[in-house]
Symmetry: C2
Subunit: 347 residues, 2 copies
């Protein structure tokens, strides 16, 4: 894809704990059934209307977007987009009549004809709830000028699934919580999140277990609450979890045992010839804490995130061809990681 | 102890597989009961007679030996000598009336009043059965001139335990056999060793399991066979095992999986903060194959052996004091290893 620096290659606020921020707005057009009931002609019409509303408009944003018809993308390209969380697995698995508008730095991706007609998604590195929302809101405004999204004065935005009714917004932060996971703090916090209108999930969406201590916190409620209050609430919760994690990290890193884990992770990343994605996630988690807490020097969190992205299965397939099997990917992953960590100093 | 370069710091023949060679001759003086039946006065008399026979004689060897009364050594010194296999654990545990004559490079250690009055032990790096035997024989001759060892024309040398009767010789080689252990070759070979008059044992003597794929092969029979034939037989057997191990290594290292194990071992040795002796033995084993087979460069087998010796528990205690507990040793071991492998290149 584009050679522009990607959003995840930079470091946002609280990047020692917050990996990334994501805002998603679900929107629908009046006069069309929801996507699962649309015929092919309607899908095409909606796709083109959304495309024209953004690219055909006169917003400064228009030159930064590319329009991609999903059916014209190869399975590897679709898998790669899904691997980078730009599109959902559902979108990738059934590209028929679907399209997307992708911003040059990949921080914005608009899915067309997924569950809703329009899903505006904005990603940011680190803690950027406000910035990401502002960008989503700006795009929403540009699109709404032409498309006049379905909106009810009582309910708010109308969506295919009632759980999104209202703001249509899902705001989330991806947090790295190895220390509070290890000492049990996270379990206690997770149990009380529901009461404050938030949910916690493993890194690959609902129901999935966390790998490498990555957890996504997001708002649970979209109805009867404003975007502003939702974001303020999620920011509060996130800040509390960050401060608990930092406290747990202090405890964890004061002992030699976790330092040992951190340094061994670097040693293995520098030397392994074969590495599967599960082991990588665990080593990455340990090393990230080491870098975030100043133990390991000579590599930034941004570079770490780049390394992380560069060895995800979809990315490896995209770079080296679809025919790679798991064993070949494990070798290629190890090779890339050795190169990336070659110059990271061992203290 | 002495600052002279120790025997294990050099590399002998076939050092890719043969760690070390050892010859032990059991001898006894006429006119004294065997050690377990001796009183303190007799023990002292025998000790001094042996000492004078070597140091008081006019052999060129005499200036290279130190005489040490075991009772005057600290528990840490005794443990360190035992850890380097210069004295037996039994000798170290019950030093009363015992003594030893230690050569400057530690390649010869004569235990006095262990199971027999005299046990001449000669160690060599790599495959040195002939050289080690020649040295043992030379010392035997010097001592015998004065001491006139108990000898029966029919039986040969008389020893405290009938299993040593005859030559009184135990010749052994310590072999590193990770590949033939892994692919099952060793199991087949071990089963047939008895038939050819040899035994195989783990690295810490009879009955012990092997750690890090170290195996000791030695002659089983001392009666009715000459020293020369014993050595020729053991040499044949060892050469066969070496060639099987080399074949297995070729097979093992052709796959990426063992290369992965080798390189990870180096990565962990370079970075770990805590390492127990069992883990070290396994990592050492993998790395030694890597160095022996030319995969890992920038470190010699001799340097590896030095590293091995330097982090044995007794050596750590000797260097850093007896009060070290296991956890402290594990930290110190990791620290020393990081230093030793810092400049070993990762390919």
């Amino acid at each position: 894809m584009s050679e522009m620096k990607k959003w995840y290659e930079s470091e946002g606020e609280h990047s020692d704990v917050v990996i990334s921020t994501r805002i998603r707005l679900a929107r629908n057009l009046n006069g069309y059934p929801f996507p699962h009931l649309m015929n092919q002609a309607q899908r095409k019409e909606v796709s083109e209307k959304v495309r024209d509303a953004l690219i055909g408009g006169n917003s400064a944003l228009r030159d930064r977007f590319r329009y991609l018809e999903a059916e014209k993308l190869s399975p590897v390209e679709l898998a790669s987009l899904a691997g980078r969380h730009l599109i959902s697995p559902e979108f990738a698995n059934d590209p028929k009549g679907r399209a997307l508008l992708l911003m040059d730095d990949e921080s914005v991706c608009i899915m067309i004809n997924e569950e809703d007609h329009v899903r505006i998604q904005v990603m940011g590195s680190g803690m950027q709830l406000k910035e990401a929302y502002d960008m989503a809101d700006k795009i929403d405004t540009v699109l709404d000028e032409t498309l006049h999204f379905a909106f009810d004065e009582e309910l708010g935005y109308l969506t295919a699934c009632p759980t999104n009714l209202g703001t249509g917004m899902r705001a989330s932060v991806m947090l790295h919580l190895p220390a509070s996971e290890a000492d049990g703090t996270l379990r206690r916090v997770a149990a009380s999140l529901g009461k404050v209108g938030a949910t916690i999930r493993g890194s690959y969406g609902e129901g999935s277990r966390s790998t490498g201590a990555m957890y996504q916190i997001s708002n649970q409620v979209t109805l009867g609450i404003s975007e502003k209050d939702t974001l303020a609430n999620l920011t509060d919760i996130t800040n509390q979890i960050i401060s608990l994690e930092k406290k747990s990290r202090g405890q964890l890193l004061s002992g030699e045992s976790y330092q040992d884990t951190v340094w061994r992770a670097l040693g293995i990343l520098k030397t392994a010839r074969v590495m599967n994605s599960g082991e990588f996630a665990e080593l990455y988690s340990a090393l990230r804490v080491g870098v975030a807490e100043g133990l390991v020097k000579g590599i930034t969190l941004g570079q770490l995130s780049e390394a992380y992205e560069s060895v995800q299965p979809a990315r490896l397939m995209e770079q080296f061809g679809e025919e790679m099997n798991a064993a070949q990917r494990d070798r290629k992953r190890a090779e890339i990681l050795r190169g990336l960590f070659r110059s990271t100093d061992i203290a």
